[in-house]
Symmetry: C2
């Protein structure tokens, strides 16, 4: 598709090298709107939130309808840096507002990289200046791709997605699970749209979208100090139907979230886990997350070993209501519901192991995409979670992240 | 120490091959008392408890002062096997009672191995017969060691421990190397004593001991379907002081629990994590467990990379009360409190990264034993948890467990 169709009206992008990463790769990104935006954000629940998270929370509370953009550095997370780190985040925003000629308190900040070190402020300043120079020509897909590349850490590929909602466009980028300084599974996401949406409607749509997308993925169960997803809506395309907008936002977030899992550190397989028939949707999510986070399930999947007892064991220790005698388990290739898939193999029926073909089960577990469905038959609580396997490469990447 | 000093009076042991493991290694163990025993047990909280867990719970409720022994097979967990599995467990007990010439409902059963398959009952029967033949000569340390070896799965070494309490002796064995997050991992433990203790006192002492030993370790955060710790007291040495007995039992359980962590699947380092000054002891435990279960912390430790931000990040997502500005972090070689250790390196003080020697921190993280202390300065809740690193060998062992 051409640039005109993909990039929402009124946004410009930059991705430049600021010398924060030792490699000299692009490590400073900017997204700027020509006009004020309604903004909404969701942040890590980690009790050690990074300085940029603290800064942005306050900024959004104070100015939810007047944001002009976001700047992001990779290579240093500005987390666990105390009061000095908070002052650095504020200074980073101020440097950007000067370089981009936007009002005070109009630019949000995000950081990703190693936890602990202070931000290299001279390099942040030169990054802001370089981005300010690049922005005026930054209305094209190439510039947006440069921004999506500059926020990568251990990511192997940039992650971008696009949706149309009526006459409005939504474009988003995300990073997570990377390769250069990969330890924190930091997830950052920025979504921009030219729809006209109020801050409160934007917030509601974001919460609903994130719940079934970014909050439904797991690579290693570690929650970062920096996780942030922010959406900006500048209204350039006018008002669109709220339901249509919310649907498009959810689709875009799910697309980005799945890209993160597919690019998970060391990932060799993409796994879709459904738990259906739980007492509540929360129970279904908890059980599916327990399976997604089980090192034993994840290593079995890496090994292509259909060791399904580990799946039920994980559901069993998740703490949700279970009646073993009512439990069914299916696996299938692909990403659709394993219980309904033409390639399905049912392993357990009403709590009893079935006489399935070990060869067929092994074939499923050796595929690039594996779907698992656990049916609890207790209620109408359903959830879907996406994850990847746990491989030798994950251990390599994270055993020597800072070296 | 000689046999006479280590084995409690009146117990005999056997460890024999029954053909359940493909390797032909010993896979059937028996512990039998000459006289009836008070018995107490703690079992997995997994919602898919294995058939032997269901059987033993009922047996202990019915006959807490009349047990004569325990039989254990490795190679097959008899878990997720439905009603047929429960009938198999009952038949396994009956076969043992016949072979050992003990009354009905006097022998508890334990199983460990792959989840899903039914027990091979012909082999269980031949194992019971072979154990029955070996038992009369089984009063020595060598026989007890054979039993401890027969219950191994991925364990590299048998795990046994001994304590004296007054004139009574306590001897115990355990197995477990993966699926270890004992809330009440497959973790099995059998402890025998010749102290005279009532079933209710024995139960209280076991609960208290397990809480700070087996329940304070984690290898991979997976809680097994089969976890069981059982203690038998036959009274042959008479009554001993209850406090002395409880202290000895706690010491013995801690010894066995630490042996499990040191033999953790793929483990190369032994890690002691203390969280002190939490609002409550439960908070301290939760935070310490989050650090112990973090794949990012565990891979950094494997890599010898003192990437301490991951430690605080794990405390931060554990959900417990934290004030970043009050948090301190130390590391040290060894197993004692890192904050007090002569070799300590303080990394964070009141939430701020300190100017520590990276060389010294790296040296600590490259040791065989690493102590980590996080001080939250919010209350008097303290907890200690033991864990190991996450290595390439863990991935190998669990990627191809059944093959």
């Amino acid at each position: 598709m051409s640039d005109v169709n993909v990039i929402p009206q009124g946004y410009r992008f930059a991705g430049v090298p600021a010398g924060i990463k030792k490699t000299g790769a692009a490590d400073f990104a900017a997204v700027v709107s020509d006009r004020p935006c309604a903004a909404a954000g969701m942040f890590t629940r980690n009790a050690f939130p990074a300085a940029p998270v603290l800064y942005d929370r306050e900024l959004l509370a104070e100015n939810p309808a007047g944001l002009r953009g976001v700047i992001i550095n990779s290579g240093c997370a500005n987390a666990c840096t105390g009061e000095e780190g908070l002052a650095d985040a504020a200074e980073m925003a101020r440097l950007a507002e000067t370089a981009f000629d936007t009002p005070p308190r109009s630019v949000a900040v995000m950081s990703t990289g190693v936890i602990g070190p202070r931000l290299p402020m001279e390099r942040i300043a030169s990054g802001a200046r370089a981005a300010g120079v690049a922005l005026p020509a930054g209305g094209a897909v190439a510039a947006a791709a440069a921004a999506a590349t500059a926020i990568m850490t251990t990511d192997k590929r940039p992650k971008v997605a696009f949706r149309q909602a009526g006459c409005a466009r939504l474009w988003g980028m995300a990073k997570g699970a990377g390769m250069i300084h990969p330890n924190m599974a930091t997830m950052l996401g920025v979504i921009v749209t030219d729809a006209a949406v109020s801050p409160s409607s934007l917030d509601a749509a974001l919460r609903s979208a994130v719940d079934v997308s970014f909050n439904a993925i797991s690579i290693d169960g570690d929650t970062s100090t920096n996780d942030t997803v922010m959406v900006l809506a500048n209204g350039a395309a006018g008002v669109v139907d709220q339901g249509v907008f919310a649907h498009a936002l959810t689709g875009l977030c799910t697309d980005l979230a799945q890209q993160i899992v597919r690019d998970g550190e060391g990932a060799t397989r993409f796994v879709t886990i459904r738990v259906v028939g739980a007492e509540t949707p929360a129970d279904a999510r908890t059980a599916a997350k327990a399976v997604a986070n089980s090192p034993l399930v994840k290593t079995a999947i890496y090994g292509g070993d259909a060791n399904w007892g580990r799946i039920l064991a994980a559901v069993g220790y998740s703490g949700v209501a279970v009646d073993p005698a009512r439990t069914d388990l299916w696996i299938a290739p692909g990403t659709e519901d394993a219980a309904e898939s033409p390639g399905r193999v049912q392993l357990v029926g009403k709590g009893r192991p079935l006489a399935y073909s070990e060869e067929a089960a092994t074939a499923v577990f050796n595929g690039a995409e594996i779907a698992i469905t656990v049916a609890l038959d207790l209620g109408s609580g359903d959830a879907t979670v996406w994850t990847c396997d746990l491989s030798h490469d994950y251990v390599d990447i994270n055993g020597h992240y800072r070296t």
